[in-house]
């Protein structure tokens, strides 16, 4: 038994690694840029042009802090046209554009020099000083050639166009931007500092086109990065501030930069107690019900409970939840229970004893618990009934009856224990079901648990949080499987794990 357990726990490790890897892959393929999310700079579209060097620097530091300036994984697959240091490019759009350009043209050096030059062209807008241009562009009588507004508009337009060129690899779009900028620069001579750099980047672009070697993108390559990568640091820590998941550190939330650990544990507790309580209730109700209806097989009672249980089984959880809210937490019908939350913030006092807290929270717990419980209850009663009917047909039950044992003893002592087997095997399935169902139930009842957390972190693309919840849930689920295995051996002496 111990040996078996040790083996099972050893299998845990690769499975957990696979789950964390899956979660990690999902989180890095997410479209949102965490740095943009965390740095509370003005919204990206409007203020992209005016992004000062200071904000760029804070972003750079933030990237470093989050470990985003590192490669994602130990290695990456790509073609020989791909650049192996692309992860150093700060802006997510820029690095996507660079990747696409090098995919099309295959000559990384030329692509990067074109892109670099374009970046310089964009930065050279800082040389254009509004007042200076305004003063310089006056005709002989001192009348200004351009109004300040016009100058400002032109600079903004040029900046915007170059900025958008940094985010596209479509040759048609690039060509049209080139020609529109050409006309802009020929119309407004004061843009010459930018024009100079721009012309240079145009040359480099044509150079890139003429020297293209797109065959390179057809030759696969594996790039090895070593252990200095995001996944490694996420898992094992970087030896400095981050401790890594193996030491229980899940990193920081993108939303409020709080450590995920402090945010998550109270939530794990809420969800866990909900699913544990509901599984407990489900077993408490379904075992007697299953036994009784199997015992009274084909009577009216059995038929009615079978139908009710089947109906409940097919009822979607969110429908039940909303119906309960409609009926029992609705000012128009019955207002027996509160609509949302797990406590009343105006009354709740953290210094209460456990029982006071429980008494305060009980009304908040009832409706969600019913919703939680009913689905596993229906599932369990059906299985229990079939199991007991199966056991009643066995020889040893007939023997027990034949030797004159009372019905109560036959059922409780001989039938019950054996019919528990199937119901324990499904313990492992109920657990993930309860956790998965929590997303919907917690959203309906606004319970601040893991399910609601994963829902809101998905809406806010808070990926470290998603990965953390994912890994924890996977871990809990596997523990559920393990507990089921152990219970199985405890209940059935015929089963031994050797």
């Amino acid at each position: 038994m111990l040996k078996y357990l040790a083996k099972r726990i050893l299998i845990f490790i690769p499975t957990l690694l696979a789950i964390s890897l899956l979660a990690f892959i999902i989180s890095i393929s997410a479209p949102a840029d965490p740095v943009e999310k965390l740095s509370s700079s003005a919204d990206k579209e409007g203020a992209a042009n005016q992004q000062s060097n200071a904000t760029k620097k804070t972003k750079q530091e933030l990237r470093k802090k989050l470990g985003l300036d590192l490669p994602v994984f130990y290695f990456s697959f790509g073609s020989i046209s791909d650049c192996d240091t692309l992860y150093r490019v700060a802006d997510k759009d820029h690095s996507a554009c660079l990747a696409e350009l090098s995919h099309y043209y295959g000559n990384w050096e030329d692509v990067s020099s074109y892109f670099h030059q374009l970046n310089i062209a964009q930065l050279s807008h800082s040389k254009l000083i509004l007042d200076y241009i305004f003063e310089m562009n006056k005709d002989a009588e001192g009348r200004p050639n351009y109004s300040k507004n016009e100058i400002n508009d032109v600079i903004t337009e040029s900046n915007f166009e170059i900025n958008s060129m940094l985010e596209t690899a479509n040759p048609n779009v690039i060509a049209s931007k080139f020609s529109s900028l050409d006309t802009l620069y020929s119309n407004y001579a004061f843009l010459s500092p930018v024009k100079k750099e721009f012309e240079q980047s145009k040359l480099l672009y044509n150079d890139m086109l003429s020297k293209q070697s797109s065959w390179k993108s057809y030759i696969p390559k594996i790039i090895w990065y070593g252990s200095k990568n995001q996944y490694h640091f996420w898992l094992f820590g970087d030896g400095e501030q981050r401790k890594g998941v193996v030491r229980g550190d899940f990193g920081f939330s993108y939303i409020d930069s709080q450590p995920i650990n402090t945010k998550i544990w109270s939530k794990v507790w809420i969800s866990f107690s909900f699913s544990l309580l509901s599984v407990l209730f489900a077993y408490l109700v379904s075992i007697p019900l299953g036994i009784y209806s199997a015992y009274k097989k084909d009577t009216k009672f059995d038929r009615i409970t079978s139908i009710v249980v089947f109906v409940l089984y097919s009822m979607p959880g969110f429908f039940i939840g909303v119906l309960l809210l409609y009926t029992f937490a609705n000012p128009d019908t019955l207002r027996w229970f509160p609509v949302s939350g797990i406590q009343d913030p105006t009354l709740y006092d953290p210094s209460w004893s456990f029982f006071e807290k429980a008494a305060h929270r009980a009304p908040y717990f009832i409706l969600p618990l019913i919703t939680y419980t009913y689905s596993s209850f229906a599932f369990l009663s059906r299985i229990m009934r079939v199991g007991v009917i199966d056991v009643f047909g066995q020889d040893y039950i007939r023997t027990a009856r034949a030797k004159g044992l009372g019905e109560g003893k036959v059922v409780m002592k001989h039938a019950l224990r054996n019919s528990l087997l199937p119901i324990i095997t499904v313990f492992a399935n109920i657990f993930p079901l309860a956790i998965g169902g929590s997303v919907i139930i917690e959203t309906i009842f606004t319970i601040p648990g893991m399910g609601f957390e994963i829902y809101s972190s998905i809406l806010n693309s808070d990926y470290p949080m998603i990965v953390a919840v994912f890994t924890i849930i996977g871990f809990l689920t596997m523990i559920g499987y393990l507990v089921a295995d152990i219970l199985y051996a405890v209940v059935d002496p015929r089963i031994s794990y050797k």
């Binding site: 979607p316 909303v322 128009d332």
Partner: protein, 440 residues
């Protein structure tokens, strides 16, 4: 005589027919399929047939073919042409000489501006007649199941939502069954020791899978992405898949050239371990959470949701198929086909598979029920499904936000419940009919 006619299919069908709830469910399912197929004719705000200024039109049918069809009529009094663009014309405003409305004269996505803000089916509903007066609605045009906040007709939404729900079942479970049956059959039939192949073939197949993904998806990723944004992504995806299959087959053929020495030695492929570990990992993550997370990072699209549900729901089917194949591979007829020298492929496809399918059908039926449940949960949460697509789940979600609107909860909820129930009942009926061992 009877003995000669006996076939398992016939026997199973007879058994199935004895199960009344399952049979009734099957009839309801057929009715639902009918509703789904003819949804644009059952619920449409354009007339099925109308006569306007002496000319006959069939707008509901014409817009099926060409959504923005244009037509014109000559006004006999003024002699001027009047242009009608079928999908934006308000047919109720026109002075139609003869008209035949759809049974439910509303489209799911267009709001009725005179019945906004949750109008109950029993409340007074308003209508603007051709004289521009707001009057009580004629019985023919009543919203029989009420409306939502922007005046969309609930009955119409439910009818069009049937399409999505049934499609989710078919498409998601189609994908899941293909993956599940394929992997389960391989794992069960060969186990860890019996899939033997020369090293050259083994390594070349692995290399082929890698190359296939590189050329099928890696090299073509921008082509695919551009195609998906411009709308014909499915074709490019099919090309990619064909490319992948071709490369793997090609590499396997190529491996024959290198069949010598060390490379020619046969080794066993632990296919069962691969598949079982994969199932274990996928089962350790609650499915709903996995699907929600994956669908959150992609573009919102109902098709994508179906594919994601399919790609994550194959484990149950694979487990059933694997268990059946484990049993069947020891049976005499499979052993016989082996000793007769038939290929493994033939033994699997012609001998083992037809006999393993019965329990798989059962798990597919239950799988459809849970796929529909997952889709409606997702649209209930508002994740993955675009805002303009009306599904049962999204309708129910509207009802959650407004406590007055009981009809927005009851009707969609009941529709979801009904569909799930009939699939579960059909699954039970199939299980009883297809598995004679349970009968005894």
């Amino acid at each position: 005589m009877e003995q000669r006619d006996f076939s398992f299919k016939k026997y199973a069908w007879q058994q199935f027919k004895k199960n009344k709830p399952a049979l009734i469910s099957l009839y309801i399912l057929i009715a639902l399929v009918f509703i789904a197929l003819f949804a644009p004719i059952i619920a449409n705000d354009q007339p099925l047939y109308c006569k306007y200024k002496g000319e006959a039109f069939y707008p509901a049918f014409s817009t099926l073919v060409n959504p923005s069809k244009l037509d014109s009529v000559i006004n006999p009094e003024t002699g001027l042409a009047e242009v009608l663009q079928f999908d934006i014309t308000d047919w109720r405003k026109l002075d139609l000489e003869k008209v035949m409305w759809a049974p439910i004269p509303y489209s799911p996505d267009k709001g009725d501006r005179y019945n906004r803000e949750y109008v109950s089916p029993f409340d007074e509903q308003r209508y603007k007649n051709s004289d521009n007066e707001i009057v009580a609605i004629p019985n023919r045009l009543r919203h029989i199941m009420g409306t939502d906040n922007i005046g969309r007709d609930l009955a119409s939404g439910l009818i069009h939502g049937t399409r999505i729900s049934l499609l989710v079942g078919v498409l998601a479970m189609g994908i899941a069954s293909i993956i599940g049956v394929f992997l389960g059959a391989l794992a069960g039939f060969f186990g860890d020791r019996n899939l033997l192949m020369p090293r050259s073939k083994y390594y070349f197949t692995l290399l082929g899978v890698f190359m296939a993904f590189f050329y099928g998806f890696g090299v073509r990723k921008y082509t695919l992405a551009n195609a998906f944004t411009s709308g014909n992504g499915i074709w490019e995806l099919v090309i990619s898949l064909i490319l992948i299959a071709a490369i793997i087959v090609g590499m396997r053929l190529l491996s024959r050239v290198f069949k010598f020495g060390w490379l020619a030695k046969e080794v066993s492929v632990p296919i069962d371990s691969f598949v079982s570990r994969g199932i274990e990992i996928l089962n350790s993550i609650p499915r709903l959470i996995l699907i929600i997370t994956i669908s959150a990072i992609f573009v919102r699209s109902i098709w994508l949701i179906m594919v994601i549900i399919g790609l994550t729901s194959w484990t149950g089917i694979a487990r059933f198929t694997r268990a059946e194949f484990l049993r069947i591979r020891e049976l005499e007829y499979v052993q016989a086909s082996k000793s007769l020298g038939y290929s493994n492929f033939r033994a699997i496809a012609k001998h083992a598979l037809p006999n393993a399918l019965a329990p798989v059908f059962v798990s597919i039926a239950f799988g459809v029920a849970s796929a529909i449940l997952i889709e409606s949960s997702l649209s209930f949460l508002g994740i993955g499904v675009p805002d303009d697509v009306v599904t049962w789940g999204s309708l129910l979600n509207l009802g959650r936000q407004e406590f007055e609107a009981w009809w927005l909860v009851m009707f969609p909820g009941f529709a979801i419940f009904l569909t799930i129930t009939i699939y579960n009942l059909i699954g039970e009926g199939l299980r009883d009919a297809l598995d004679p061992r349970l009968k005894s």
